[in-house]
Symmetry: C2
Subunit: 429 residues, 2 copies
């Protein structure tokens, strides 16, 4: 972890540069997978599952027996934890419900807005080393609150053709009925086009490797929406003398253990803090099972000393971190000046992992600087907001001439005429 | 306009099929334009403006003199109309402001959500036959309410190097200070990369031809967000015996005059209504200046008779119209069962053109079936929603063990450790 002391502003963008992702070359590999699934459906899915996951499946859909088995395999402790996390996530996402907007902009001109759930959504849950059942909660809970009627979950099988019981347990707990053992680009293709067994959806959510990411981008070309563009996970910690170095180190490591491409940025008000945190990092690394990932991720990471708070806030806004931890004396003073971040964690007792799992906020957040223009997943991600208007004859008498004048100026006579005809009828012309 | 009477459900998707857009081939033309602007900035912009707009410009930015001139050139009538439209749009979009969400999901576990304006936004306003000053209002008004600090507007110059005065007048009225005479893919490129004179933005909004659409899609690959994927504008009208055929015909024509690729769908409860509307269309067409566009658009359009209301609603939801006009006896009864539509117009006195210009709703809406998963432009389009959390030591004592259990089950030990260290400190271990 390189340390830079009080860098001048002109060097920031280079210091904070993220690794570029080359999805173009991967797109070339993913496109034929998409096209095969589009043309050959389930049989293509079975072929790719054999090729990429090393298992030959006759039935792609998870059966009720598999679900029952999973329920019996998950520890009661974990069940209790998942249940608390689910409740907290429900509470926070329920609070995001929009009111029905009703505004009479002029007498007789009534405008409305209502949120309506996206009917069919697809959730992708990666396989691999860590069974991300927490992501099932983060996606399915708001989908259910939004009123999405069809939830489809795809996740790759292991070499024996099974899905991790914690994923199946969580999926049935939140009421997902259609779970399929398909992973990678082929899963995204299946939800994009639909196959004999997997329903087509309108929007695809969830993390994944670079093939999944490239497939989701391609899916957009076929008219499907996606949650957000993806990049490696990242954290920025802003620490002053009130920070506890051991806690900061633990937070940096919990990000770094995700993978070798994880991004970690430490911004500190003094070099002393940086040195203390680094010593703690070295110490804690020794006991971590995923130390190898973490060490590599840290070697690409940076510690920046900025003694001036205004400058530190400017830099944090320029970076736009997915996760921003404020281990500073007055965290709200800083938080209120942050304009670019996915999710902000305030104070010494708010580790990122609280939000990753169970506090209630969503963990699907914009990475790669996308916090400048994208929100994390929320209830909004699962609804469309439809507008309505209803104008009375009296309302049109007032508003109509305005529309006529503007339509004429835009040289759209038929637009004008749609008003004129009605005004003539109202005025008995 | 072809008429189909009571088609069976299995034929609907073919009947309602939209023309496919082939953006791949256009992407090939647009990509070198993007790359030239990326590498050569303003000088590339000047070259493309000379090539595509037929005018050589030394100064790309609209000057204060040009603005003053535009103010004096716009009629007082039009100014008054624009001012009323602006007020209505402000009123409706102000009402979309989110409350600051604050939820204590467990004692001592505080979660928050706040909307923060996207700092830098780019607005593209097309040139061509119709000067779309109304789109300036529809994009800039919510951007200002959201708190976006930098608004950049690009619009192509005419052959004399000028921009239509109504566009300039409206832009200054809503407080846009940076207006550039650049159009097409080169304008999108300029806002994506930034040039010597045009600032880089985080999100690009606005309609445009197929080159602009392709450029906006490419812009996403370079990390910029866009408002939504675009397609030809469209309207569906659902009419029963309470509809006024002349009004329905005028509404269909106001959509059809947009361009030859406009989509028009009439769903009626009887064949008689369709015949009456068709007769009115033929009649009204005679006097329209843009009759040529409208006639071609109508020739690709369809009238569907569905005597059963449930079926009609199903079909309208399958189509997912950008604009949906309900010229029926009980419009709210139908509207409440519509799940896929951009904006809905209720009753005989609510023409689409009211919403296009001045009622207060936004006219930038999802086309091409995207209403199934995208909302129209609203205040939401100009903000990110940042989440926050602040946990007290007491809160972490309760939540911490839940996080530890879940992190251990996902085999992410460093995530667990970030909690364990804090719990140990709290419990003086």
């Amino acid at each position: 972890m390189k340390t830079v002391v009080n860098p001048v502003k002109s060097t920031w963008s280079e210091l904070l540069a993220r690794p570029t992702m080359d999805l173009e070359s991967i797109e070339g590999l993913v496109r034929p997978v998409m096209e095969s699934v589009q043309s050959r459906g389930d049989s293509a899915l079975r072929e790719f599952t054999e090729k990429f996951d090393g298992v030959s499946l006759s039935d792609l859909q998870v059966t009720t027996e598999e679900i029952s088995q999973a329920i019996s395999q998950v520890d009661d402790d974990l069940k209790a934890a998942i249940s608390i996390a689910k409740k907290n996530i429900e509470t926070f996402h329920q609070a995001q419900k929009d009111d029905f907007v009703k505004v009479e902009t002029m007498p007789g001109v009534n405008c409305f807005r209502k949120s309506v759930g996206i009917d069919k959504v697809g959730l992708y849950i990666p396989g691999g080393t860590a069974p991300l059942f927490s992501t099932v909660l983060m996606l399915a809970v708001p989908a259910k609150i939004a009123g999405s009627r069809e939830l489809v979950l795809c996740t790759p099988p292991d070499k024996s053709g099974n899905v991790h019981p914690a994923i199946l347990y969580t999926a049935q707990l939140v009421g997902i009925e259609k779970i399929f053992k398909v992973g990678g680009a082929q899963a995204v293709a299946a939800m994009t086009f639909g196959t004999e067994t997997i329903p087509q959806v309108y929007k695809i959510f969830g993390p994944g490797n670079q093939y999944v990411t490239a497939a989701k981008q391609l899916a957009m070309k076929y008219g499907v929406a996606i949650d957000m563009p993806a990049g490696p996970s990242e954290v920025a910690v802003y620490a002053d003398e009130s920070a506890v170095p051991a806690f900061v180190a633990a937070d940096l490591l919990s990000q770094a253990e995700h993978g070798v491409d994880s991004q970690v940025v430490l911004v500190a008000s003094s070099e002393e803090i940086v040195n203390e945190v680094k010593a703690e990092v070295a110490d804690q690394l020794k006991t971590l099972p995923r130390a190898e990932f973490a060490e590599k991720a840290l070697s690409n990471s940076i510690a920046i000393v900025l003694s001036d708070e205004d400058q530190a806030i400017d830099l944090l806004n320029e970076y736009g971190a997915e996760h921003l931890i404020l281990s500073v004396k007055k965290p709200w003073g800083v938080a209120n000046r942050i304009v670019n971040a996915g999710s902000v964690f305030l104070g010494n007792y708010t580790p990122e992992s609280a939000g990753d799992y169970a506090s209630g906020t969503n963990h699907t957040l914009p990475t790669n600087g996308y916090a400048k223009m994208y929100s994390g997943v929320s209830l909004d991600s699962f609804v469309k907001k439809i507008t309505y208007q209803e104008i009375t004859p009296q309302g049109l008498s007032v508003l109509g001439p305005v529309v006529e004048t503007m339509a004429a100026a835009e040289e759209l006579e038929a637009h004008k005429n749609a008003v004129t005809l009605r005004l003539n009828e109202i005025n008995n012309v």
